[in-house]
Structures are given as C-alpha cells and as structure tokens.
C-alpha cells in the first residue's frame, strides 16, 4: 500500500485530537453532574478508532461498543449531536433518550454504540451480509473489546462471517481489562488474534496506540474483504486511561502500569513523526488543534443550550 497523502495524515491527527478533547470534556461535565447515566471514555484509545475509520470508505459501516464516542467521531459523527445526546438533550442523536451508549448515524454507516457487551458482532455480520448480497463492495468494521471477545455472540459472529466469507473486519481493542477483570484472569491466551486460526481466517496483532499500524492493518483487511476473501481479526493492543466507567476507582490496577501506557500515548507519538519528517509544521498542527477545540467547544455550547426532551415525547419512537 502507498503511504497516505498529507491530507489523510493530518485528518488522522485532527480526529485523534478531537476524540481526546471530546472525552476530556465529557469527563469534566460528568464530574460536575451535568451528564446523566453512565459514560465510558476512550481516552488513550484514540488510535484504534481513528486508524480503523481512516482506512474505510465513507460508505462502509461500523458497529461500536459501550466505549463508542471515539468510533463515532472517527467515522464522521457530529460532535454537536453526540454531546447533546450525552447531555440528554432533545437535539441529540437519539433525541436525548438513548445517551452515550446508543449513538448511531445510519447515514454515516455508524450502526450504533451498544450497551450490551458483544452485541455489535451479530449486527456487523448482518451488515456485511447485506454488502455481500447487494454486491456493493462495502465492508463493516466491528469494534469489540477484550471482554466482548469472550462472549458467545462474538464466537458466533466470527464463525458465521468466516463460513460465509463475509466482508467483516473484526477490530478487537484489547485494553487489558474487562471492567475490573484483567485478561490474564478471563482468558487462557494473551493474544486475541490467536483465535482467528480457529475460524480459518487471517488474524494479526498490532500496536493499537500507533495509528499508522492500525491504519495499515485495516487497509489491508478491507482490501482482503473487498476482494471477497472474507473476514479478518485485528487485535489492537491499547489501554484506557480512565476506569471502565467514570467513577470507577480503578483499584484493580496500579499507577506504574498507567504511567507506562501513558508514555506510549498515540497523539504525541504521531505528532512527533509528522514534525520530524516535516509533514506538517508546529503551527499547522497547532491550528488543527485549535480548530478541534473550537468544534468541541461549540458542541458543548450546543448541548448545554439545547432543551431537555418534553415529557409528552416520552413514548415517541417507541416501537415495542
């Protein structure tokens, strides 16, 4: 594959920066009690979402997880509508009634965040089947975590996708913990990509904090899928800086581990390479960051100023 051009590289930098800023704001406002329900932040995991979505076409689809803000932003989701939804406002993606874990935008191929661990797998398989049936060359990337990888739904999805050679890219974000349980206690293997062999599909493990490693792997996986060769399993080794949810005291891991992973954080690493190789100047990157800050600030303003849903809207959009 050819090295992506400057625009693609700078878009990836912008996207990761936007995710970092978005999550930081959500963390702040959740702490201030302005956000109802639960939020699961992807701080530290910006590269896996960004590298994956940058390797897809706009018409391709993704299924997301409970930790889905980064995926949605990377696939082009509108931060205003996302933030409004998280604030529980009527202008949000789900009119304020779904919250953080149900953000979706079918027009952008975002088939939804998901509050059920491992539930994205079957959705991705269905979406990929539609691409195969329609012969439209589309693919679906299925984000799932290390905890989800142990769910029956994911095993069924991998089996079905491999048996039918469906164009699914299973993107495992292995952050080492399923809620508070380390992977060393929940599975007998350390590399989730090993499971690809059981389904007769290619699998690889990449540095999930290196956006270019993810981009390269997903680009090749997408090519593989579009050629009708079926699914792949890509494991992105990464780490979440915050707890499983906001409010999680994280007593199950130590600061040394967190510091070690923060030293491998994705945005600074990528920025260093861009600057060292004169792909961009410090001023250009600062300009992109400023633009992202303005966009996220506008999203927060929009969310704060939007009305909450009216009581009589409670039963609207209820189908069952």
């Amino acid at each position: 594959m050819q090295q992506p051009d400057k625009k693609v590289l700078l878009d990836m930098y912008s996207t990761m920066t936007k995710i970092r800023l978005f999550e930081t704001e959500v963390q702040k406002f959740f702490g201030e009690g302005l956000i109802p329900g639960f939020v699961h932040l992807a701080l530290g995991e910006e590269a896996s979402a960004t590298g994956t979505c940058a390797a897809l076409k706009p018409s391709d689809m993704i299924t997301s997880t409970h930790r889905g803000h980064g995926h949605c932003i990377a696939k082009g989701g509108d931060p205003k509508l996302m933030m409004a939804e998280i604030f529980g406002k009527s202008t949000g993606y789900c009119k304020g009634k779904g919250g953080s874990m149900h953000i979706a935008d079918f027009n952008l191929g975002i088939l939804g965040a998901n509050g059920i661990v491992g539930a994205g797998g079957p959705l991705a398989v269905g979406a990929a089947f539609s691409c195969q049936y329609k012969e439209n060359g589309g693919v679906c990337a299925c984000f799932f975590g290390d905890g989800a990888s142990n769910q029956g739904t994911m095993q069924e999805s991998l089996n079905f996708a491999s048996a039918w050679k469906l164009p699914v890219i299973f993107v495992n974000e292995n952050n080492g913990y399923g809620i508070s349980c380390p992977t060393s206690k929940s599975m007998a293997i350390t590399n989730i990509s090993d499971r690809s062999a059981a389904y007769g599909i290619p699998g690889a493990t990449v540095d999930g904090n290196d956006v270019m490693a993810v981009y390269e792997a997903v680009s090749e996986a997408a090519k593989h899928a579009r050629e009708g060769k079926g699914p792949t399993l890509i494991e992105c080794k990464t780490y979440r800086w915050r707890g499983h949810f906001e409010g999680d005291p994280c007593v199950y891991r130590d600061d040394k581990e967190l510091k070690e992973w923060m030293a491998k954080e994705p945005i600074g690493r990528f920025k260093k390479t861009l600057l060292e190789n004169k792909v961009a100047t410090e001023a250009e990157l600062e300009g992109l960051k400023k633009k992202a800050e303005e966009e996220i600030a506008a999203a927060v303003k929009f969310a704060k100023e939007s009305p909450v849903p009216k009581v009589d809207a409670l039963l609207e959009d209820v189908y069952a």
């Binding site: 090993d194 990449v206 090749e220 190789n277």
Partner: protein, 331 residues
C-alpha cells in the same frame, strides 16, 4: 552451569498473516515446546535455568504438567521490568549474560533472535523457530534443542566445538551504532514504522545481507538468487533495487508471498566497511521489521561487524556429544 530460555509470546502474529500467508503460532504450542526443551536440558544434566517472564507465562505454564524429576531443579525468571515490547527480550538477555548462563535458547522469529543477540552479544544462542520469516532460527524438535543446549550448558561440548560464528550487520546513524541485524537490513521508503513488517517490495531501495542462499525466505532470498554466502563467511552483500533495471529476480520475500525486483548495483561488503544508506528520510528495516527512523539530513550506514555471534549448531553439537559418549548410554 546455567542455561536460559527466552520465549517470545508475540512472535508469529504480525500483519503477514493478512498480507501474506503466515501461520499463527499460538502460545500453547510454545508452552509445549518449552516442556520439551526443559526435559531435554535435564537429560543433559542441567539443573539451573533462567527464563524471561512475559505476559502469557509460557515457562510457568510449561511447568504445570511436568514431573519435577524430569526437569531442572531450579527454573527461575530473571528480574526484569516488563514493558511488553521487544525491549523485554533485550533486557532479559542482558541479565542472563550477566548471570553467566552458558547458552540462551531463543524461541521466536528472526526479530526475536536479533533482540536477544542485542542484549547478549557474548553468549551462545540457540534460536528455535516460532516466528514468521525464519532464516536465523531453526525448525528442529524442541527436545533435541533442549538436549543440545544442555550438553553445552553442562560443559560437555564447548562453544568452540558446537557453535558456528555468524556475521552480523551493524546499523549506524550519524556514525553512532544504533542497532544490529542478523540477516538483513533494508532501506524502506516511508516515514512510519507502522505495522513493522516489510512486504511491499516497491518501497525497498537497498538491501544489506549478512548471509544469503537460494533456499532462504524474506529479503535474503533476493540475494540468494544472485549468490550464496554462508553465515560464517566474513563478508556480506549489498544490493540496490532499481525498478527500471533489466536484470530482474522473483523471490519469496514472505510466507507464500513472491515479489519481483529489479537488480541495480550489487557489491560485496567487507567487515568494518560502512556502506552508506542512499535514502533519507527513510525507515530502516532490520531482519524484516521496520525499526529505525532516519530523518532528513541524517546519515545512515550499514557494516558487517568485526564482532561475530556464537550460534549453537544443533547437529554439530549433538555429533560432538556422541563422539564424547555424552549421550544416551545406559550403564
């Protein structure tokens, strides 16, 4: 005498399973191999083994199903902080050398052997293949590998008798040694290390080889079509790839992956002679993995080191052990 084991839990899992046809080498198989190595070592009289700790626990898991009487009495991890990167192999190998082990069995691909050799330049290594492109490590039954390492660790066969001395490549950036390679160094036209593996031959501009032969795999297979250089020969080969060159070769540069390359200049490399890297900026790939960034304005070069690496030749070691009546004689 002590022996040591480094088993890389991440070898055999990179992107070449997608872009080529590499096998997944699962860690349970490595566990089973370690069992056989330990039993082999014990049969040769080894009672003390150091190993590299890692996230999967290959060696501790290997101990589950083993009778204490069939394995060395002391099997201990080296005291190393784990970064979960190849640094762990480098640091563990250095600690093993410091602890005076006689031999290190290294389980992985070319990259793992390179990392071990970086940390322990003066200790014989016995490289066992569990990786992707395996030129340096051998595919041999682990029991026999354990036995060969064992007879060397027990002092029955000396390194002079059982090892071959391999040429290695040194990479210099702005005149400073920065890394080594056991088989090949390639200049890769990119600025990102990304997924590390090298599979796009159109981005490879120069290849530096410490050895090559026609039955090789990886970038050394390109050199192997032109000529053969044994690991013991104190020379190397440098090849400039030129897409427009009329002289063309087709070689297996990855598992199930052939590439056609135009051959430009070809020259011998003599020990100590620095051959400049012609591309800047670029990434230098060592033993098939993109590893080092060369920035614009930096000057990089590659040389055949005057130092050599001692590598256990299992066949030679076992033959020597047989001649000395060290093996399998029941009284």
């Amino acid at each position: 005498m002590k022996a040591a084991i480094i088993a890389n839990p991440i070898s055999g899992k990179d992107i070449r399973r997608i872009v080529a046809h590499g096998s997944v080498f699962d860690n349970q198989e490595k566990v089973r191999m370690v069992r056989r190595i330990l039993v082999g070592m014990k049969a040769a009289g080894v009672e003390e083994v150091l190993y590299m700790p890692e996230g999967y626990g290959i060696v501790p898991r290997a101990l589950f199903d083993l009778d204490p009487h069939e394995i060395p009495a002391s099997i201990e991890p080296v005291d190393v902080f784990l970064h979960m990167t190849q640094e762990d192999t480098v640091n563990s190998a250095a600690l093993m050398e410091e602890a005076g082990v006689a031999v290190i069995v290294v389980m992985g691909g070319d990259g793992t052997s390179r990392a071990a050799a970086s940390g322990a330049r003066n200790t014989p290594i016995l490289p066992l293949s569990t990786g992707t492109n395996n030129v340096f490590p051998v595919m041999i039954e682990a029991t026999v590998a354990g036995l060969a390492a064992g007879v060397m660790a027990s002092g029955g066969v000396s390194p002079a008798e059982g090892c071959y001395e391999a040429s290695i490549l040194e990479v210099l950036v702005d005149d400073e040694p920065r890394d080594i390679a056991l088989i090949d160094v390639a200049t890769y036209n990119d600025i990102f290390v990304a997924s590390r593996a090298v599979w796009d031959i159109t981005r490879v501009k120069q290849i530096f080889l410490s050895r090559c032969k026609p039955d090789s795999i990886g970038l050394s297979a390109i050199g192997g079509i032109l000529e053969s250089i044994t690991p013991e020969e104190p020379r190397g080969l440098t090849i400039t790839l030129d897409p427009a060159a009329p002289r063309r070769v087709r070689a297996p540069i990855g598992p199930g992956l052939f590439a056609e390359a135009g051959i430009g200049a070809v020259a011998d490399m003599r020990p100590g002679e620095i051959v400049p890297v012609d591309l800047s900026p670029c990434i230098l790939a060592v033993d098939g993995e993109r590893e080092l960034k060369v920035l614009e304005g930096q000057h990089a070069g590659v040389r055949i080191s005057k130092d050599r690496l001692q590598v256990v030749d299992v066949e030679r070691t076992m033959e020597c052990a047989r001649r000395k009546k060290l093996l399998g004689l029941c009284t």
